[in-house]
């Protein structure tokens, strides 16, 4: 049962590697670990979108899935041949200790994923939509969006995770929720690879890279429970996509020619189509990049992503989907009263060593120790995105704001953990400080 699923995930990953090979600047060396990492973050979304396009055009899954698979293989071979011919010097090899630690991390998180479940949102929101998409040959049936008895599925939420799950479901002869867990395991692997690739590229240090990966894979909050990376929630893919976007924003800081724009646009679309928080992060990243560079074109990568995400929302609402945003203005005094509990929820989560260990205090100390070399741009994007995430609780229309905080704050923080680790550890011994 898992064989077909693994093949489907392999095709998805290969599609991501091909897209990265196309988007990565031809003047820059593309390390294998970076190619794999970014490919894992982009690939499942890419094949999901292709599946959606096929289904929307009326192509049955029995035809669209093998065609997408075949096109992926041809594209990957062509991109590999194209990059192979580039006259670029071979860079340093990835240190053995890094490879061993990342491989161990992947085995560990895959083992955990095999023993845990999709979780609440993972099942009744994301997998639910994946089943609809798969049963409709990849198309999103508009009747499902407008179904008044399914408003609890948040019909207008972005489709990255359901599309990827639907792609995997399409490779199963019979439904098997256990086998779907290979997909979160693959996303997890992509996150570990991303952190390793980003910190290694920023620091050239095996020690910092090893420390960064170890910090992530030993945090129970990221491994087990609702919203963990091994569950079926969207927080894992969002965390990976956000870390990738910030890394490339950082890397392209001194890019005057726009050679990183294709990859930035691709990553921004992935992030904005994963969760609504992703749309906020992309908008902030675009605005701050433009502001820091003093010209709007540096933030232009965010425009297509915002257009795609808002376009989906508009299409969903047009087809009768109720807006899923659970927010309303509580009045000035109500808003002021909420500031304290919101701040307390964030601080309490950061200091909860029972689920994070020493990760957040350790990162705070690390950032302070490396304050002269820390990358201000990515850090400001993360801080601003987190600020807007916290601010949203002021508008919460949940009957109990504390319950909303309890449910959501751990996941918001989990989604920023890899990015923060890349920023903090990437500042160590950095050859490309900003």
């Amino acid at each position: 049962m898992s064989g077909g699923v693994l093949l489907g995930i392999g095709v998805a990953w290969m599609a991501g590697v091909a897209i990265v090979g196309l988007c990565w600047p031809r003047t820059e060396r593309l390390p294998l670990i970076a190619s794999l990492a970014l490919g894992g973050a982009i690939g499942p979304f890419a094949v999901g979108v292709a599946f959606l396009a096929g289904g929307t055009a009326g192509v049955p899954a029995a035809r669209s899935v093998p065609v997408i698979g075949a096109l992926t293989m041809m594209a990957a071979a062509w991109v590999a041949w194209r990059r192979w011919r580039l006259p670029l010097s071979r860079g340093p090899r990835t240190p053995l200790v890094v490879l061993l630690v990342v491989a161990s991390a992947i085995v560990w998180s895959t083992w955990v994923a095999g023993r845990t479940h999709l979780g609440w949102d993972g099942t009744v929101v994301w997998y639910h939509k994946a089943r609809m998409l798969a049963a409709s040959d990849g198309a999103m049936p508009s009747t499902a969006l407008a179904d008044p008895t399914r408003s609890w599925t948040a019909p207008d939420y972005p489709l990255h995770v359901p599309l990827a799950m639907a792609w995997v479901r399409a490779w199963q002869p019979d439904e098997d929720e256990r086998a779907i867990k290979w997909l979160p395991a693959a996303w997890c692997a992509a996150v570990w690879l991303l952190v390793a690739a980003a910190v290694l590229e920023r620091t050239r240090s095996a020690a910092w890279t090893t420390a960064a990966v170890l910090l992530l894979v030993t945090a129970p909050r990221l491994l087990v429970g609702e919203g963990s990376y091994t569950s079926g929630y969207a927080d894992g893919p969002l965390a990976g996509g956000l870390a990738a976007l910030l890394w490339i924003v950082w890397r392209s800081d001194d890019d005057e020619t726009g050679i990183w724009q294709p990859l930035l646009v691709t990553l921004a679309v992935v992030v904005a189509c994963t969760k609504q928080e992703g749309l906020v992060a992309v908008a902030v990243a675009g605005a701050m990049s433009a502001w820091r560079a003093g010209r709007w074109s540096r933030g232009a990568f965010a425009v297509p992503a915002i257009a795609v995400a808002l376009g989906w929302q508009a299409w969903a609402v047009w087809h009768g989907a109720p807006p899923g945003m659970a927010y309303e203005w509580p009045g000035l005094s109500g808003a002021v009263e909420r500031v304290g509990p919101i701040a307390a929820a964030y601080v309490g989560e950061w200091l909860d060593v029972g689920v994070w260990g020493g990760l957040w205090p350790g990162l705070a100390i690390l950032l302070w120790a490396q304050r002269k070399s820390v990358a201000i741009g990515p850090l400001a994007i993360l801080a601003t995105t987190s600020f807007f995430g916290a601010l949203a609780f002021v508008w919460s229309d949940w009957p109990s704001v504390s319950m909303h905080l309890n449910v959501t704050v751990p996941r918001l923080i989990a989604a920023t953990a890899p990015s923060m680790i890349v920023v903090a550890c990437g500042a160590g011994s950095s050859p490309k400080r900003t």
């Binding site: 639910h128 008044p148 008895t149 609890w152």
Partner: protein, 163 residues
């Protein structure tokens, strides 16, 4: 480098050892017998193991017209079970009636005019037959739905029962 690497690794392992030791017992051991462990977990209040397989069998007996899940409990107790049932019975419209503390249509802060029910599924946790399927609904009124009984039932062999 090796010395710094060693120091970093030791520091991280020490800081993470305690939370990791708490994680270990929380992990279920081995593989589930069912192909739908995620659905099964969300339906464990009934309980209703192998939910996907059994709900697929139930779906085969129901028309594609709208129906209702009647929980003979407060709404929150069986909300997750309702969500899983609705998921597996797609594309049918599936409404939710909770019988306690007072019978009411529940749509989780998104009120709507429910469609006309043509079948019903009763959920009674802790009983011998926690999931009971009835084609045909005598009344659309939540109070009547909660008050009606189903003494004349036959086993269907799919884990649920039908009238």
């Amino acid at each position: 480098m090796p010395r710094r690497l060693l120091l970093l690794v030791v520091a991280i392992v020490i800081s993470q050892a305690w939370p990791l030791s708490r994680l270990w017992p929380a992990l279920p051991a081995g593989h589930e017998a069912s192909r739908s462990p995620s659905s099964d977990v969300l339906m464990q209040a009934l309980p209703f193991p192998d939910a996907a397989h059994r709900l697929a069998a139930i779906a085969g007996t129901l028309p594609l017209s709208p129906g209702v899940v009647v929980a003979h409990t407060p709404a929150d107790h069986l909300a997750s079970a309702y969500f899983v049932i609705a998921m597996h019975l797609w594309p049918r419209q599936v409404s939710y009636v909770a019988c306690a503390p007072v019978p009411q249509i529940e749509q989780f802060r998104a009120p709507h005019v429910p469609p006309v029910f043509t079948w019903r599924i009763d959920l009674r946790p802790g009983t011998a037959r926690p999931v009971h399927v009835s084609p045909g609904v005598p009344s659309q009124d939540p109070s009547a739905l909660c008050a009606s009984s189903f003494a004349d039932t036959d086993r269907t062999g799919d884990g649920g029962t039908t009238r």
